[in-house]
């Protein structure tokens, strides 16, 4: 897998392959170093899929526990990142299904999480962007989990179609179909005029 922005890959003293081998041998420190490199990205993914910080924290702990329990079965057929992300997506969707509800909104930007907003030259443009972010968050939250997962993995996270399909556990053709459906629904929810004038 190519390096991704914001991802801290294990350093030369602990290459991913050796950390995996050590973790498989029961070295919890190696497991933490291995998985810790992806923890921030994984947590952001869970925030976007679940829409709730407390729930994302709980599920993130569960994902790490499942990965620890399952690492003995990891055979390297996919990258470790893909394998871990797949556990996270499955766990998030399982929780949503179990609770029988969808998030009220999907956090897209800093304002939803009370983080400092990036500086903008034009206040009017900043307001438009905030409004669009909120509309996107609501539209994403209204999608069924499989469609929301598709758009979050591909468009928000910026993963390739191949990686995203692997994480979602479907063929690339099926993934593209889900992504198209997701985009159509979000487009319909926001409206073409708003998108073209604000998002273009």
């Amino acid at each position: 897998m190519p390096p991704l922005a914001g991802q801290r890959a294990p350093g030369p003293a602990g290459t991913e392959a050796s950390l995996i081998a050590r973790a498989q041998a029961g070295d919890v420190g190696a497991f933490e170093r291995l998985s810790g490199a992806y923890a921030d990205r994984l947590f952001m993914l869970l925030l976007r899929l679940l829409g709730d910080r407390g729930e994302a924290e709980d599920v993130a702990q569960e994902v790490m526990l499942r990965a620890w329990r399952g690492i003995g079965r990891f055979r390297g057929q996919s990258s470790y990142f893909t394998w871990l992300y797949r556990i996270a997506v499955n766990e998030a969707n399982r929780v949503l299904e179990k609770r029988g509800r969808r998030p009220a909104a999907v956090p897209i930007g800093a304002d939803e999480l009370q983080l400092p907003a990036p500086a903008a030259d034009d206040p009017a443009r900043q307001a438009e962007n905030s409004e669009l972010r909120r509309a996107l968050g609501r539209a994403l939250a209204g999608l069924p989990p499989a469609l929301r997962t598709a758009i979050v993995l591909r468009d928000v996270e910026g993963l390739s179609t191949q990686q995203a399909a692997e994480i979602a556990g479907v063929s690339q053709a099926a993934f593209k179909s889900r992504l198209h459906q997701a985009r159509l629904r979000v487009r319909a929810a926001i409206g073409d005029e708003t998108l073209v004038t604000t998002g273009g």
Binding site: G26, E57, A60, Q61, M64, L65, W68, H180, R183, L195
Partner: protein, 88 residues
Amino acid sequence: MPSRSDDHQWSQQHLSHYVEGELGPRARRRLDRHALDCVDCGRGIRAMRALVHAVQGLDGLAGVRAPATIFDRVRLAAAGGSPSSPHA
């Protein structure tokens, strides 16, 4: 030869692939030709491009960090040994 209605339906189903540049040259030309005369599909392309751009460009979660507790359950499981260890 496909009818205009066939072209329209086909174009609407391929807008996502079109904006991602995933259509082959022949398919791309087919959609380009149709969109020249079809207001709906022309607007659809612009809206789909704007949507993808908006979603990609609004990633404001860069400051978010995973909670310090993220490995708590792993540590508990590891301290307790099986059945949670990788060899259980």
